[in-house]
Amino acid sequence: MFNKVLIANRGEIALRIICACRELGIKTVAVYSEADENSLHVRFADEDVCIGPARSLDSYLNVPAIISAAEITGADAIHPGYGFLSESAYLAEVCEACHIKFIGPYPNVIRLMGDKARARRAMKKAGVPVLPGSDGPVSGEDQAITIAKDLGYPVIIKAVAGGGGRGMRVVRSADELPKAFKTAMREAEAAFGVGDVYLEKYVEQPRHIEIQVLGDHHGNVVHLGERECSIQRRHQKLIEEAPSVALTEKQRRKLGATVVDAAKAVQYANAGTFEFLMDPSGHFYFLEANTRLQVEHPVTEFITGVDIVKEQILVAAGRRLSMKQSDIEVRGHAIECRINAEDPVTFVPSPGVIQAFSVPGGPGVRVDTFAHSDCTVTPYYDSLIAKIITYGRDRTEALARMRRTLEMTVVEGIKTSIPLHLKVLADPDFIGGKFDTSFMERYMPEKKKAGGRLAETA
């Protein structure tokens, strides 16, 4: 087992990883930027290293600083959390070279899944349903027009190196294609340094369904069921739940088995998430795989009782998975609201000092947060200040708990998305389970037709 784990992250997820390490009796090293000097993750780690100034590029994204921090503290493993370097094949490779265990999949698997066109081909080969599409980068406008005609409109143009909705365009007719193609390439080039794009059939009114997997380094892979993350805004997930009301037990078993087979085919190890679009007639299409821990992992932890972060650490240390597929039993329903420091109407970020902070207890409530009274929410990083997760024997109970928990949560001094969450929780369509990824458009300040599709984020 590891003696000391360095946590290459900040905020609630750094604290989450400290909790897991402490439960396993492993020492921790926090790294932090100058802006985070007073953060709780620094307070509760056994050791801490300042790795740079506030700007992420110079601190939390600074591979040499993080590796050096591991070396000077003698850490034998690095947990990257989510975001930042969590999907950096480069960091994973450097770790390997420095004999530090990277708590995540093999570098080549990270690289494969990071290239959307290659990932798509690999999944297709492994029997995972993918959207009809170009099966690789499209060389030019003319080829795009030919392929689009074959696929039938609407189609979607996506960046090969994509993420976060950039380099992505929905095209509804041949007329729109040339312009959209050029824009997508330009955006991809600007955002990722690679202009390559590919084409896929566009699914209308899709639900976002994802399967959580866990693999060890002995070839064992299990899935922990699905999560539904259709409540998202500009590709940012806002509310996640498990199980999904849209899946039958049969669909769940089948999709889970398919994903486990595909994960085994690519020698997937550690935690990962396979994201799918589900069309209104119940077909699934592979979207992408996230080769890391997800923000919304707690909903799965609630319904399965599995501690995903502890499993990550154990399998990275060479242990076999602590469970077989048949041991995993889903019980009850869980839902997560991401509480952001932002105006609930305009979505403008609201950094500042939290003057009062309190969250209620009672059964079925979990709060993962770095916030506390008198803490500062800096403007440098993402606006997530707390994840509130509730559990119930069924969805109705989980939703009622979430409502009362949000109503009894106190965050004073900054604005938060809690009022927006309460609106969604009172929405009859949401309560009825009748929604898709375009659901949040009704709460957008300007009702732009944003396409409302795909979630590329944690």
């Binding site: 100058e34 000097e37 007073n38 709780l40 290293v49 300042c50 790795i51 740079g52 100034p53 601190s59 040499p64 600083a65 590796i67 050096s68 921090a69 070396e71 000077i72 503290t73 450097v94 420095c98 000092v353 003057q355 506390h372 009274s373 008198d374 803490c375 500062t376």
Partner: protein, 159 residues
């Protein structure tokens, strides 16, 4: 009311730990307010200090690394000291190799651009240069010890 009266009143104010004292009489008005009491209105009063938000570290943030301008208040009142801080995380070495002499020692005169030490990070030796001309006044880190981003390395007495 003369100066003595005022002194006595002030003594009373101190003895009784008053925040305010006001006296008005026949065209005379005295009003005393002790400093520091408004401070009590802030969320985390300095003396009480408990609370999750730690009191700012006694080491002032100081100049940004890479631009270590003079930091007089930091070190002393009359001397112009520039503090060289570590721009990276790594292991601090005072000499280019184990058996060699130190790049600099206290009392040495250094010039801008002169190598002061090496910081090893990811097996790479990074030379850290002086940002100013002056005399080495202090070496803050022992040879072979780890340094964090922003840790003080040297103080240079400027011109």
């Amino acid at each position: 009311m003369n100066l003595d009266d005022i002194k006595q009143i002030l003594d009373l104010v101190r003895e009784h730990e008053l925040a305010e004292f006001e006296l008005e009489r026949d065209g005379l008005k005295v009003r005393i307010r002790k400093a520091g009491h408004e401070v009590a209105y802030v969320a985390a009063p300095p003396p009480a200090a408990p609370g999750l938000a730690p009191v700012p570290a006694s080491t002032a943030p100081g100049p940004l690394p890479g631009t270590p301008g003079p930091a007089p208040a930091d070190e002393g009142d009359s001397v112009n000291l520039a503090v060289i801080k570590s721009p990276i995380v790594g292991t601090f070495y005072r000499s280019p190799e184990p058996t060699a002499a130190a790049f600099v020692k206290v009392g040495d005169m250094v010039s801008k651009g002169q190598v002061l030490c090496i910081i090893e990070a990811m097996k790479l030796m990074n030379e850290i240069e002086s940002d100013c001309d002056g005399e080495v006044a202090a070496v803050y880190v022992e040879n072979g010890k780890p340094v964090q981003f922003g840790d003080r390395l040297f103080a240079i007495k400027v011109g």
